[in-house]
């Protein structure tokens, strides 16, 4: 898609930063900060799925939580339908949140075990004062049917359901207000393989039917690639590469993206591949390395990478950007 053909973005993230104070020492003074998200720019078009991939601690979940304003970002803007949510509060924020929902990773932790499934799914309707008791009940029935749960599910409790079914409950709750955008934080990584595909199919069906946009956060690149239109790769709080899903997989430019793809075990014994095995661990976001954040693990790092932080620049395919000094 050429930039001109792209519809106006539903969500635009500008220079977003989320720094958490790190309290240390006897007086627990905040002398340091954990730069979980450090200058991120992203857009999400209506009906689009943006995949967000990275390893633990790269800031992908923090970014997702900033978007739905479970965190108040340190700096930057979150422009959703033309309004900046980064510093919105009260009624203005609540109004926008109707359009902005979240699906969580852990289907056990994210459902209140003392509420019935019906109450859980109806809660967004109650909070936003939509309909009356009877109409809500009917709406909950529709929603449960839509996500493929049995009709009597509304009167039961979360513990009576399996992991996959609980994730369906979470999805029903997220779509109850007919949102425009859903942030999905590792929605299938706690599920077994045979259940994972059921839930992914449901999410794809709902997207088509309701014209939803997803921000799909996961560490499993194969899953992300299957559901996403574009994919952003995060490392230490920054986007290191962004491109359409096919390009990320076929023509990755950043050495980290390449290592990440080659590290995925391929379920085909005939294709045991030569892996690029990265040395070392991800550095702490409290003390990120100077220069390019990836340079301590990069097989191609030079002196320049140790001092100069690369900016995102366009390369190769239309819309592909990468933060690396070199054309590898």
């Amino acid at each position: 898609m050429k930039p001109a053909d792209r519809p106006a973005p539903l969500l635009e993230i500008r220079d977003l930063a989320m720094h958490f104070p790190v309290r240390e020492g006897v007086f627990l003074r905040a002398n340091n900060s954990c730069r979980a998200v450090d200058g991120v720019n992203l857009t999400v078009a209506p009906g689009e799925t943006l995949g967000l991939v990275g390893e633990s601690g790269c800031g992908k979940s923090t970014l997702g939580k900033c978007v739905v304003r479970l965190h108040r970002p340190t700096a930057g803007q979150i422009i959703f339908q033309g309004q900046d949510l980064a510093h919105a509060k009260g009624a203005a924020l609540k109004a926008q949140r109707r359009q902005l929902q979240m699906i969580f990773q852990d289907p056990v932790e994210s459902l209140n075990s003392r509420h019935t499934v019906g109450d859980i799914v109806a809660e967004p309707l109650v909070i936003h004062e939509i309909g009356n008791a009877a109409s809500r009940k009917a709406r909950v029935r529709d929603l449960l049917a839509k996500v493929g749960l049995p009709a009597d599910a509304g009167d039961r409790f979360p513990f009576e359901f399996s992991g996959g079914q609980r994730q369906r409950i979470g999805i029903a709750r997220a779509i109850a207000l007919e949102p425009k955008l859903i942030v999905c934080d590792e929605p299938v990584s706690a599920l077994d393989v045979s259940i994972q595909s059921q839930v992914l199919n449901l999410m794809l069906d709902l997207q088509r039917e309701m014209h939803l946009s997803y921000v799909f956060i996961a560490h499993n690149l194969a899953v992300v690639k299957h559901v996403s239109d574009r994919i952003a790769i995060m490392y230490l709080g920054r986007i290191v590469e962004l491109a359409d899903a096919e390009t990320i997989y076929r023509a990755p430019r950043h050495p980290y993206t390449r290592a990440l793809i080659s590290a995925i075990p391929v379920p085909d014994p005939a294709r045991r591949q030569q892996r690029i095995v990265l040395q070392g661990d991800v550095p702490s976001p409290i003390h990120p390395p100077p220069g390019c954040p990836f340079h301590p693990r990069c097989p191609h790092a030079t002196e320049r990478c140790k001092v100069e932080t690369p900016a995102l620049r366009p390369v190769g395919a239309e819309g592909q950007v990468v933060s690396c000094h070199y054309d590898l």
Binding site: S56, G164, K225, A259, A263
Partner: protein, 338 residues
């Protein structure tokens, strides 16, 4: 699946499990978590056990190691043959000499497998003091040596540190060092990389392969990740609901899976080369709870090829001399398309 007459067992097995039945006492009675599982592990090779949560793969591992939680867990039948002995019949003090010495174990969660209150050196030395030496200094020197072998930088410093001072990948290296300390002939690795990031997983898998090439131990690798199985294993056991669905060489199982469950699993994983945003194939329904297992084939409620015959216990047929499947209808299934 009975493997007493299986040709796999003819190829120099280092460990053999026959008709293992393991059950647990629960509020709803005694339930069989593993029900008649059999396979053999070839010397110096890697056998994968794959299956979903609750299929009994970890219980099988704990049964081999005689580490079932007491008093709820019991081995109700079958044999675990290792170095000419049946481990299920050994008295606990004999088992102590085998566990950690002849058979090592790598656990999933390196933080809980290590004692947070003891230094790395002290925990590793314990293994050597139990099996190899009585001299603490010698044990510590051995610890430094094995840490170097698993790729831990400056091991002489690390022995004095505590588990929390290491990263997840480094901790898993320590757990591997512990499992391999006494040069066992078999190592059981229960989801060794599930808690790790992909780039760290790649490091650990590479390390396990390099150590196997060098030390020649057999590995039983338990995982839910078919990708890890494909990359690491020579043979694979596919488990479903406490039983073996299919067993054979990894190339055959992936190219010509004969059990509808194996086929369903292989077809349902998202793959990088598949077209995006298309519907994935699914295995409909859920695994029945252990106390509501159907008679006959346990996969029947989810199987697209089910007929009346599936209410009978499935045979353990040989597709090829080394590929065995527990399905009535495997001959009639259409050719597999991933």
């Amino acid at each position: 699946m009975p493997s007493a007459d299986a040709p796999l067992s003819a190829i120099d097995p280092v460990l053999e499990v026959r008709d293992l039945v393991t059950s647990f006492d629960t509020d709803s009675g005694r339930l069989k978590a593993v029900d008649g599982v059999g396979f053999s592990v070839r010397r110096g090779r890697t056998l994968g056990i794959v299956g979903e949560s609750g299929c009994g793969k970890s219980v099988t591992a704990f049964s081999i190691m005689q580490l079932l939680p007491r008093p709820m867990g019991h081995i109700d039948g079958g044999q675990v043959l290792f170095e000419g002995r049946d481990l299920t019949q050994l008295p606990p003090e004999e088992m102590l000499k085998i566990r950690g010495n002849r058979i090592g174990m790598i656990f999933q969660e390196p933080m809980t497998a290590l004692n947070p209150l003891h230094t790395i050196g002290r925990q590793l030395s314990e293994v050597f003091l139990l099996h190899k030496t009585t001299d603490r200094r010698a044990a510590l020197a051995m610890s430094v040596e094995i840490l170097a072998k698993v790729g831990i930088p400056s091991p002489e410093v690390r022995v004095g540190e505590y588990p929390h001072q290491l990263s997840g990948g480094m901790r898993q290296r320590v757990v591997i060092a512990m499992a391999l300390a006494c040069k066992p002939s078999v190592v059981i690795a229960d989801e060794p990389t599930t808690a790790l990031d992909v780039t760290i997983q790649a490091q650990i898998l590479e390390l396990m392969q390099a150590l196997q090439d060098e030390m020649g131990m057999a590995i039983i690798l338990i995982t839910h990740d078919l990708g890890v199985i494909a990359e690491m294993c020579d043979d694979v056991v596919v488990m479903y609901a406490g039983r073996v669905a299919e067993v054979g060489p990894v190339d055959r199982i992936f190219a010509a899976p004969s059990h509808p469950y194996t086929r369903g699993l292989l077809a349902s994983i998202p793959r990088l080369e598949r077209p995006r945003k298309t519907r994935l194939k699914v295995i409909e329904g859920l695994v029945p709870p252990l106390n509501q297992m159907p008679a006959g084939c346990r996969f029947q409620n989810r199987c697209p090829f089910r007929t009346d015959i599936c209410a009978q216990p499935p045979p353990a047929d040989f597709v090829t001399p080394d590929h065995q499947v527990a399905c009535h209808r495997w001959r009639e299934l259409p050719a597999f398309q991933p």
